[in-house]
Symmetry: C2
Subunit: 426 residues, 2 copies
């Protein structure tokens, strides 16, 4: 049987689950994967007290890089500072690396993979996207024979939980977030989840695999879900949609665009049915069409499952070096992706106001597919303005921004206009 000696750095929830799995259920990996994994050393800055296993623990994480007994560094400390130094030094010492660190891969992936290539070692990062659902494996192995045209993914469990909760229970954003925090599904500082950063990092990793772009998180355009209101959720339901935070990547020629925004997803799409804190990724390829991968996107056990799958792959020879060297496609930030759009406006309740708004869309050559004037909710007051929902035909992000600006200058519109994408693809 093959064997692998690993050094695990970072003993939080995920690190604990990795150590627990390897220590307490080694027969599963032996039987299923034909590999005997042994933990040679654990790096934990807080020392042995946080490692509830009888293992060699060091508080100096760089000891793991220096330990010549170790075949693979398992990096679970996160961030781009110490983690980067540790990964680089481990690679230089001839170690393979398995990491769940999406920030590191999406920011420094290119240099790290070059370094790994120079030293003849492998980097596994299945755990960095979609937790226990093997989407990286599907992209680079299962779908290896296909050209990917686009992907659409629900990649952040916290925001999906919040949006699902707002929809299922008519909760406010604040209440849903609070509940996610109480359940341990959101950090005490949930900024990176809620503002879309986490999903954008993951989307940039998918882009590198699907479209052979650089790992470059900064070229992803994104927004979070803070702007989604209970009203938007209700209007979406009325119109046959669910609101999801969708990371979308697409390629035209050698130009790739990746973005992550709150998006209306038609209820006949599988992605619209993904509730709770679950993740899902739809990958559309030439010839075979769409495949969808659904599962838990975070959490100690799912993430540990992905880490161990990478370890088994490395024991069995790792992954081929792929991508036409040096011939990467371009990851561009300009908003060229075309989507139908939802607009939520408040319009003065006076003659001619709606006609003026409609005319503005027509003047910009944007087709209106549906326009719904709602009754004002202020039934006990003067009905000074009424909500108007408009669904348009496809327009690019750039044109959508321009349209928002145009609408902003219409004096009959009394709110700060909201616009969301609509994902209709079959």
């Amino acid at each position: 049987m093959k064997s692998l000696k690993i050094g695990v750095c970072g003993v939080g929830n995920v690190g604990g689950a990795v150590l627990d799995n390897i220590t307490n259920a080694p027969d599963i990996v032996r039987d299923n994967g034909g590999v005997n994994i042994e933990v040679s050393q654990v790096g934990a800055r807080k020392g042995k007290s946080v490692v509830p296993f009888d293992l060699d623990v060091t508080t100096n994480l760089m000891d793991i890089a220096a330990n010549s007994d170790i075949d693979v560094l398992v990096e679970l400390i996160g961030g781009c500072d110490l983690a980067k130094d540790l990964v680089e030094e481990s690679i230089r010492k001839g170690k393979n690396v398995v990491t769940a660190n999406k920030a590191l891969i999406s920011t420094h992936g290119d240099e790290l993979f070059q370094l790994a290539k120079d030293h003849g070692v492998q980097i596994g990062f299945e755990a960095s996207v979609a937790g226990g659902t093997p989407v990286i494996k599907a992209l680079r192995e299962g779908l290896v024979a296909n050209k990917v045209n686009w992907f659409a993914g629900i990649l952040n469990g916290t925001t999906n939980y919040i949006l699902s909760k707002m929809s299922d229970d008519n909760s406010s954003f604040e209440d849903a977030l609070k509940e996610a925090q109480d359940l341990g599904l959101a950090e005490s500082d949930p900024t990176m989840d809620v503002d879309g950063t986490d999903a954008a990092q993951k989307a940039s990793i998918l882009s590198a695999l699907a479209f052979n772009t650089p790992f470059d998180f900064r070229s992803v355009s994104y927004e979070g879900i803070e702007s989604v209101s209970s009203d938007d959720i209700l209007y979406a339901e009325e119109l046959g949609y669910s609101i999801k935070h969708i990371a979308y990547g697409s390629i035209e020629g050698d130009e790739v665009h990746v973005s992550a925004y709150p998006t209306f997803v038609s209820n006949d799409q599988l992605l619209s049915q993904v509730g709770q804190q679950m993740n899902a990724l739809e990958i559309s390829c030439d010839g075979i069409g769409s495949t969808v991968y659904y599962g838990p996107g975070a959490g100690p056990k799912p993430t540990a499952s992905a880490v161990i799958a990478d370890l088994v792959d490395i024991a069995n020879g790792g992954w081929p070096e792929t991508g036409s060297a040096g011939k990467k496609n371009k990851l561009l930030k300009e908003g060229k992706q075309e989507f139908s759009r939802y607009y939520n406006l408040e319009v003065k309740n006076e003659a001619g106001a709606i006609a003026k708004v409609s005319a503005l869309f027509a003047a910009s050559d944007i087709s209106i597919e549906a326009l719904i004037q709602k009754e004002s909710k202020q039934t006990n007051q003067e009905q000074s303005h009424v909500p108007v929902i408009i669904i348009t035909g496809p327009l690019s992000d750039l044109n959508a921004l321009q349209m928002l600006e145009n609408l902003g200058s219409v004096e009959e519109i009394t709110n700060s206009v909201k616009q969301f994408r609509i994902h209709n693809a079959l």
Copy 2:
């Protein structure tokens, strides 16, 4: 770059798609998979006229096994006769094998894998289940760190198309089947699809991987979809279910049961949303819970995609030998799996009839979760009997069979009672 020389036997739709992909888009596999695949020889019983590529063609398929230039036999002729001889002879000659042949693997898998082990070669069979969706890869690689508790799958595209059509358009079974045939989604002889054999074969392959059982299709219990009527579809919708043909495998201790039956699937389950001819597989593991894989389950391009993914894997070293040798779990045919059930009865429209039926369920210790007496459809005639729908709590297949027999002896029941499983798992 790694390279692989293959011999392709069988040039139907799938074989044509494999040759087309390798011949016309070799750069995709080179860039994505780091492998140069070369077709050394094609075996086509009808000869060069059916091979629209400039390739060496032989009408004697055993020539492929004998050709020492070939690294991998791609077996796409199907069935268990010539295909078996060809695969065995190729293995004996030191060739790896990639096959889409579910009948062969599900019937002779154990002896073929033993033969392959003896000769140090690999057998890839990703294409035998779920076409272009990499479910075999997910099971034996992506989920390698987990104990599978159960799987539930829509594994036959033809029956899913028929059931979806019956539901979407209120078509009869016959009309939906006819349409599937017109669209090329069903064979002119659709028996193997419609009677559940195809799904059962695929389920037995999944069982071997998920539960370390022998490949033994004959130990799967199954029925087809012929018994599903338009009325059942309507009742299901009323009750919040879709009817799907579900292959279900589960393990208790070292006992495994695998079965494939028409099944009510609750509309809050992702599997209930799988329409058209699509396939989907839900795999539930300890710790990480459910992951779901969705995609095209058949067709030339999806199947070719899976065949080529296997070829790339073989070029990169293949798969580890796994499973505790000789220590297989048992695949048992007794119906021990427990499900809630749907019963469709016609009961004489007379006092006390329903009470008698209810009492029979109570006497067998089966809880009735819902009972709906429908109005008779025969509004212009004497209403001699009325439809009665009963939803029960969980009972085993054995007990369900016994209950059917008991109901058959109730003189107030005028139809041949129908019973379907209900899949509610979250």
